[in-house]
């Protein structure tokens, strides 16, 4: 399926949950309402026409004007087509629905997005920090992150 057909089938099924799209990009992307993410992911995985059974990558992004987001790179092993989904949220309300019940691989990627960007994945089964120590403060990949002077009373070098 082409990106346009995927977009049309999503629009037909979910209507206003599809916020925006850019189909002329080298890797076309579709922006999804963050509160409807799980339903859409489930539909894309289970619909026989799309069957996106393989999540290549899930990345958190800080867009630098108070906007955070998660980018989902999906692939279908059956039909061999790709699509990129995006879900945006704000720093004040950093909530996006978790898709780890749809693709098990999302579990660790989402924990990483929480760890690095502070995006809270609603309904995630085990939302803990993954790469940083459990008692670390702040989310380092945010663009406005300041390196703390002390960690547990120890001076942080440089």
């Amino acid at each position: 399926m082409t990106a346009e057909e995927i977009l049309n089938s999503l629009k037909a099924k979910f209507g206003d949950a599809v916020v925006e799209s850019k189909l002329d990009a080298p890797q076309p992307w579709i922006v999804i309402n963050p509160a409807r993410m799980k339903d859409i992911a489930l539909f894309l995985r289970d619909d026989p026409a799309t069957q996106f059974d393989y999540m290549m990558c899930l990345s958190g992004v800080d867009y630098n004007n108070g906007k955070l987001g998660i980018v989902y790179h999906l692939f279908s092993m059956v039909h061999r087509h790709k699509i990129v989904l995006k879900a945006f949220c704000t720093k004040e309300q950093p909530h996006i629905q978790s898709v780890s019940s749809v693709w098990a691989t999302a579990n660790w990627h989402e924990r990483e997005a929480f760890d690095m960007y502070g995006i809270v994945l609603d309904e995630h089964p085990d939302l803990r920090r993954i790469l940083l120590p459990y008692d670390w403060e702040g989310h380092p990949l945010r663009k406005d992150y300041k390196v703390p002077e002390f960690y547990n009373g120890m001076k942080v070098p440089y």
Binding site: A25, Y54, M56, S59, G60, V61, L132, P140
Partner: protein, 395 residues
């Protein structure tokens, strides 16, 4: 809550109880054991929190991050795109060339650069040499996990010969900074082609020797067959890749299915696990896939050496690397699987965001799923067969 439903039924009549030979039940408690972060069989600084019922594993909780070096934050703070490449080397230090390949591919796709044929062929040769070197570490240390020390020495001896070839080309033996955006840092030296051909001739019988020594050894087969079985649907749902995926019998190789470089011009086939010694997707299958991939790599190197065209390897290197605002996700098949880089450019000279999709990170996340119900000694083998490099897991 600890799940006990996946325990083998012959050991357990109810959660936490073991049947004795006299027909009585022994009440037992679960115990939590720490394995790592300083443990030889975790292949680096991985900590596994293991919940055991006697010898049987009830649950495994991996704790990672001990080797986190802020790769993604560093990448955003370089002064140009080129400076990220040495950091990519340090992700998977056993297969640095393949890491570079994925990153330069992402940036080249943003810049829409056409590369000279010679660059592509040298890249394929180097990537495949690196794949052999990396698989040699994987199968060698996997032998140690199973209690066989000798094959490890064979593997490391042969790996040295490959590192000699790299040293001859770019001066480094482990972390190369060899692939540049649009080209290579050096052309190969004149004697390289002969030396590489000699290596291929030398190495082919060595694979058979290694197989006789380890792969078909009866003790090794008994330890690895039917252990840690990864079913197809679980493998796809966890987005496993590389030998993990092919070991489960899924015909999938990015070199063929999402073509890059000149792999489509060469004649080769991906190797799959077939369950010859046990079940499809067990630990032995993942091991044999690595062994056979080394044979395939030798064949790819020989073909690429024979077809190596002339040309200037630095002709396409751009003077100024400043991609248009946009984003790209590029992936390559590294020895551990699909390594992808998601690069966002804001039109400036530094990447706005670089996300590394590390295959070892993703493959490791399936470990709890496939090790429940196994013995502790088997967990060592299962973790070894995933072939993690903690530099890549923690980035």
């Amino acid at each position: 809550m600890i799940e006990t439903k996946s325990l083998p039924t012959q050991y357990v009549s109810q959660p936490g109880a073991i049947l004795t030979s006299s027909g009585k039940t022994l009440r037992t408690d679960e115990m939590i054991i720490n394995m790592g972060p300083q443990h030889p069989s975790t292949h680096g600084v991985l900590r596994l929190e293991i919940v055991v019922d006697g010898e049987i594993i009830v649950d495994v909780i991996p704790h990672i991050g001990y080797l986190h070096r802020c790769f993604e934050k560093h990448a955003e703070h370089m002064t140009n795109y080129q400076q990220v490449i040495p950091y990519c080397d340090r992700l998977d230090y056993c297969a640095a060339i393949n890491d570079e390949h994925s990153y330069v591919l992402a940036v080249e796709r943003m810049l829409k650069i056409e590369l000279p044929e010679r660059v592509e062929y040298i890249r394929v040769i180097m990537a495949e040499l690196q794949r052999i070197a990396s698989h040699l570490i994987a199968v060698g240390t996997f032998g140690i996990d199973a209690g066989a020390f000798t094959p490890f020495l064979y593997a490391f001896h042969d790996r040295e010969l490959i590192l000699d070839l790299f040293e001859m080309t770019c001066g480094a033996r482990l972390l190369y900074n060899y692939f540049w955006i649009g080209g290579l840092s050096h052309d190969v030296p004149p004697q390289f082609v002969d030396k590489a051909k000699q290596f291929c001739t030398y190495f082919k019988p060595r694979i058979k020797e290694f197989n006789d020594l380890l792969t078909y050894n009866e003790i090794f087969v008994k330890r690895t067959a039917n252990v840690g079985v990864l079913p197809k649907d679980v493998a796809i749902n966890y987005a496993c890749s590389g030998p993990m995926l092919r070991g489960s019998g899924i015909d999938w190789d990015l070199r063929r299915d999402d073509p890059y470089s000149v792999y489509h011009k060469l004649d080769w086939q991906p190797q799959l696990g077939k369950g010859e010694m046990g079940t499809v997707g067990d630990v032995w299958d993942r091991h044999i896939v690595r062994m056979r991939e080394m044979e395939v790599s030798v064949s790819i190197i020989e073909q690429a050496l024979a077809a190596l065209p002339e040309g200037n390897v630095q002709a396409a290197i751009p003077k100024r690397i400043r991609p248009d605002a946009g984003e790209v996700y590029a992936r390559t098949e590294t020895p551990r699987g699909e390594l992808g880089f998601y690069v966002i450019s804001d039109g400036s000279g530094t990447p706005y965001r670089v996300k590394g999709r590390a295959p070892a990170f993703v493959n490791l996340s399936v470990l709890p799923e496939i090790s429940r119900g196994c013995m502790i000694a088997d967990l060592v083998l299962i973790a070894g067969s995933v072939d993690i490099v903690l530099g890549q897991v923690d980035r």
